[in-house]
């Protein structure tokens, strides 16, 4: 039998149902893998005791004929941006030192109710601001894939710990959050599936806020089917989030086997960037051919404002962040650095508590919202955002999904691009436009670059049409037949 930690989430669910193994056995296998994989620094907090309690409870439910569904007994990892009752929640920041929520985020509560077993809280870029998981106060995460000569690579970010944990076989699936690409880009870098649902599909309640008009929770898994199953357990209307969509959750797996015959796939020439590496362009073309071979039709569309999405994002997101992060003042929770006066305490606490990238974004956000600059920067970016969304609306009058690369490169070495913030921001050039328009999107592992590192392809669908998105992603996954795996953390091939 395949090692338990190698099973997909769907396979693990079937094995539990068939009684091939128990949730406790599966969970113990993951805890062992997690301990063996500590070099990756994928977790900030491990919760083996909670995991074993929940696994045993799951086994008891199943024995009593009351298993809750396909997630019951499945060990998962949770990005440390979701508040978890009684478990340290850090957002990867010094400023949340010791913060132990007295409540549970809606998405992690939904997963808990579905019977999922929490293994721990995963590392991330500080406040989810980053594309390489190098800004965490708890240190960088290593990609389970190694570069030439065994060099340590970034897992992407900001959900880098979740991606590394899934790719490294430390859990059956993980949840992340995606503001501009923070699920999809790390999925591409680590050879797994990463999915951002439509804005409003998952409740944001209890997720540490970064940019409220963009943040969405989503799954990171080893297959498209796994992502569909996991999203089903995460999604749903929540009265505690006023932007949560009051609509029913469909069966996201409904179209997985239907294929793409007759599906219209949009190809936007604006995604063909100057200086795009040849192998990314070739993979994109390969993706079109795979879908055409299965009966889809590729149609050229125009998304004229694509090149402005990234600069507009880097006004809107920091502006919202500067407002959201104003709450970290040392008064009510987290780090406090004492000062002579109240202002002195605020400044000292925030000066010490925030890392360089977060400080940079708060300052940019404060600047673009300040008197005299608000119209020139913030309001202009919001108008450009309207145009970006309009481009998508018009394209989706002609096509069902859009196909693009996920990221402009494979994973790079830890330490690269650190001295140039704008070079780091360019990682998200293909993922940010869909975020700005609130659209559902997914990265599917599709091939390897010249150094043997994974590359993803990216699909975008209409609002709340995740079923079609998963259907196209499943066809892409089947054609790509991506079965490469990173070396085992303990050495040797796994």
């Amino acid at each position: 039998m395949t090692a338990l930690t190698e099973l997909s989430l769907a396979e693990a669910g079937k094995g539990l149902e068939a009684g091939d193994f128990t949730a406790e056995e599966l969970t113990r296998a993951c805890i062992e893998a997690l301990e063996g994989g500590r070099d990756l620094n994928a977790f900030i907090t491990e919760t083996p005791d909670i995991a074993l309690d929940r696994a045993k409870a799951s086994d008891a439910r199943r024995a009593g004929g009351k298993a809750a569904g396909p997630m019951d007994g499945i060990p998962i990892a949770i990005k440390d941006l979701f508040c978890t009752e009684g478990v340290l929640t850090t957002a990867g920041s010094h400023i949340l030192d010791g913060f132990t929520p007295t409540y549970e985020s809606t998405v992690s509560a939904n997963l808990k109710d579905s019977g999922a077993v929490m293994l721990g809280k995963t590392n991330l870029d500080e406040f989810a601001m980053g594309s390489a998981n190098v800004t965490s106060y708890y240190g960088p995460v290593k990609n389970p894939w190694k570069g030439p000569g065994g060099k340590d690579l970034v897992p992407g970010g900001s959900s880098g710990g979740s991606a590394a944990a899934v790719a490294g076989g430390l859990c059956s699936g993980a949840i992340g959050t995606d503001t501009g690409g923070s699920i999809r880009q790390p999925a591409s870098f680590t050879g797994i599936v990463g999915m951002k649902p439509t804005y409003g599909r998952c409740s944001r309640w209890g997720i540490v806020a970064f940019a409220s008009s963009l943040d969405q929770a989503g799954p990171l898994t080893r297959s498209v089917e796994d992502a569909a199953i996991m999203l089903g357990a995460m999604a749903g209307h929540d009265a505690k989030d006023s932007t949560s969509a009051p609509i029913d959750v469909p069966d996201f797996s409904a179209g997985l086997k239907e294929g793409v015959k007759g599906m219209k796939v949009g190809i936007a020439k604006e995604y063909n960037l100057d200086g795009m590496p040849g192998e990314i362009e070739a993979l994109w073309q390969q993706g079109m051919d795979w879908l055409k071979d299965q009966g889809a039709e590729c149609i050229d569309v125009s998304l004229a404002h694509t090149k402005y999405a990234l600069p507009a994002y880097y006004i809107v997101a920091p502006a919202e962040a500067s407002s959201n992060l104003a709450r970290y003042d040392g008064v009510r929770y987290g780090l406090r650095v004492e000062g002579e006066s109240l202002d002195d305490m605020y400044e000292a606490t925030r000066g010490e508590g925030f890392g360089d990238e977060v400080r940079r974004r708060i300052l940019i956000g404060t600047y673009v919202l300040s008197a005299g600059y608000y119209d020139a920067y913030y309001r202009q970016a919001q108008k450009v955002r309207t145009l970006i969304a309009k481009d998508f609306t018009e394209a989706f009058e002609q096509v069902d999904v859009l196909l693009t690369p996920t990221a402009p490169s494979a994973a790079f070495a830890i330490g690269d691009k650190m001295d140039d913030p704008v070079a780091m921001y360019l990682n998200d050039v293909f993922t940010v436009p869909a975020s700005m328009a609130g659209l559902p999107a997914i990265s599917v592992p599709a091939g390897l670059d010249g150094d043997g590192l994974p590359l993803g392809l990216h699909l975008i669908a209409k609002p709340f049409d995740e079923v079609t998105l998963f259907r196209a992603a499943s066809a892409l996954e089947e054609a790509a037949g991506f079965d490469a795996r990173p070396p085992s953390p303990k050495g040797g091939a796994s």
Binding site: S213, V331, R332, S341, E347, A348, K383, R385, P421, V422
Partner: protein, 103 residues
Amino acid sequence: MSLDKDTVRKIAILARIRVPADALDGLSVELSNIIGWVEQLNEVDTEGVEPMTSVADMDWPRRDDEITDGGRAQDILANATDPEPAPGGKDGGGFFTVPKVVE
């Protein structure tokens, strides 16, 4: 537009973040580069375009104006530095403490 040291110092005060004096030069360069890069948005003709504040195409939900939650003083104070209990009862409330504001 470039952000000189004085501007960076002013923004840092607005944002209530203490920035060491020797970090101002570096920040001034970094922030100027970012602002210079986002200024390409000025090329876009946005005459008559409405600014987008939310992608959620929905009416804001309303509910009856009534109390739905509360009585959680201990939960709220659970993560505070040196909270003061309320006189006369542990569930009756309590206080966050801060440096003296009024003499």
